[in-house]
Structure formats: structure tokens, C-alpha cells
């Protein structure tokens, strides 16, 4: 397995585009120039990923749809703040969507209900991260499978800690309380798990 030594290029495992299709950067540039068609294309390309992310946080189909619309509106309104020097468009959109979804979760005080659902999910599917893996969708499936392979290589406790931090926006203390685990153990799980994923993704990028 070849490992890249690059330290300056943000790692990224993005789906392949059709030949001739505008890159995400080109679409963002067009959106900055207020071209609605560019937003339409960006929506077609990533609404499924962003909706999945939102759903993973708030577990409510109708709310996820509303939030998805708000997020793309924010992408339109905030496009001028996007800088290619700071990363890729998808990373920027995911960061924005995650923040909005977690804010939405808290504002609507749905935390308790989501926690209960999470509890059920965790009991029924300890490897919740992996349960999304059986689908027909083609373009992203290889990428998804490769990323999931990296994630599913982690011990379940590390997966759970990262899942709670990333998809629920929980602090280390909240994770410790929820999982009845010492704070130091939670920190170690997060550190080890994230390092393994980070290193795994860098290897993956060098292979693609």
C-alpha cells in the first residue's frame, strides 16, 4: 500500500464526476457570480449526501427536508465566504450542514427523543455506521464502501465515541455520561479512533 507523504494538500475522498462535468470549485465560482443553474447542479450532486447527514443528526424526514432547503439557501447566500484556499466545497458544505443540523436538534429540544432513538439503534445495531452500506446507488457506492471499511476497522467503542461527537455534537463529558465511561477513556477512544480514520483516509486517497 502506497502512502502519500504530502502534508499540505487537504485529504479528500470525493466521488468521480462524469467527463466534462464542471468541478465543485467551478460550480462554487459560478454560484459566487449568482448563477442559479450552478446551485441547481450542486444540489443534484450533493443533496443526497447532505440529507443523509442531516437525517443522521435529527432523525426526522420532514425536518430534514426543511433543513436541507435552508442549508442550500445558506450556501447560496454565503457562497462569497467560501475560499478554495481553505478547503474543498464539499467539506465546506458538510461543515455548514452539520452545524445547522446540530443547532436544529438543540433548538427544537428534540435531544431527548433522539437520544431515546439512538439508544434503541445502538442496542439493535452496535455498528450503526455500517448499517447504511447495502444500496444500489452507483456513483458514490465505491467511495462509501472504502470509507466505511476504514471506519468499520475501528473497535465499536471508538466508532460509538466518534459517532456521538460528530453526528450528535456531544462533548467528551456528555459522551462519558451517556456511555457511563470515564472521561479519560472517552478522550483516548476519540483520539485513537480519529487518528486511525485520518491515517486510513490518507492511504485511501493515495490509492484512488
Amino acid at each position: 500500500m502506497r502512502v502519500t507523504k504530502s502534508r499540505t494538500r487537504p485529504f479528500s475522498v470525493v466521488p468521480q464526476l462524469e467527463p466534462g462535468a464542471p468541478s465543485d470549485f467551478e460550480l462554487m465560482k459560478a454560484i459566487q457570480a449568482e448563477d442559479p443553474d450552478a446551485l441547481s447542479q450542486l444540489y443534484d450532486r450533493y443533496n443526497g449526501i447532505l440529507k443523509a447527514l442531516i437525517l443522521r443528526v435529527i432523525h426526522n424526514e420532514a425536518e430534514a427536508d426543511d433543513l436541507l432547503q435552508e442549508i442550500f439557501m445558506e450556501i447560496w447566500n454565503q457562497a462569497k465566504n467560501f475560499s478554495s484556499q481553505k478547503g474543498k466545497p464539499l467539506g465546506w458544505m458538510v461543515t455548514l450542514a452539520r452545524r445547522r443540523a446540530i443547532d436544529g436538534l438543540r433548538k427544537k429540544q428534540a435531544y431527548a427523543r433522539a437520544e431515546e432513538r439512538l439508544q434503541n439503534e445502538t442496542e439493535q445495531q452496535p455498528d450503526a455506521w455500517v448499517h447504511n452500506s447495502t444500496e444500489e446507488e452507483i456513483v458514490l457506492s465505491d467511495t462509501r464502501g472504502l470509507i466505511q471499511k476504514v471506519i468499520s476497522g475501528l473497535p465499536p467503542a471508538q466508532q460509538q465515541a466518534i459517532d456521538l461527537a460528530f453526528f450528535r455534537g456531544m462533548s467528551q463529558r456528555e459522551i462519558a455520561a451517556k456511555t457511563n465511561t470515564p472521561l479519560g477513556t472517552v478522550k483516548t477512544r476519540l483520539e485513537l479512533g480519529l487518528k486511525k480514520i485520518y491515517d486510513g483516509l490518507k492511504e485511501l486517497r493515495s490509492e484512488l
Binding site: R7, R9, E34, L39, N47, G91, S133, F166, Y198, L201
Partner: protein, 78 residues
Amino acid sequence: MNFKEFQNQSRLYVIGALEAEELEEFEKARKKFGKKAEDYIGECYGLHEAFALSLRPAKSSAAIKDRLMAMVRARKEA
């Protein structure tokens, strides 16, 4: 904090998992390491993208896109 410790903390930082007391130390180290630190944090944000891509895309109704594009066009014309 040495740079290796900073790297560990950066991965926690980008997913919002640093506690308040750690955040203070992290920001000090971030300042100390300068551009090298910013570049590394930028790399770590790739984790966001990867976590999102690990999920099976979800379908949304066509009405969502119609509403969105109507709002965008109205905003542009305003």
C-alpha cells in the same frame, strides 16, 4: 504542547469535541505553530467530508428543489 499533541487535538477540534479547558491550550498552540497549524487543521476538516460520504445518500422530495430554486431566483431578482 508539541506538534504531535497538537495534531491529536486538531482532530478533536474539527469535530467539536474539545472541552473548554482544552480549547484554550489548543488556541495557544495554534498561534505558536502558525501556518503549519492552520494547514494541519485544514487537512483535518477532510474528516467531515469523509464522515458524510460514509453515509448512504438519502432521497429528498422534488418539491424541495423546486422551492429552493424559486427562492433563489426571487432573491436574485429582488
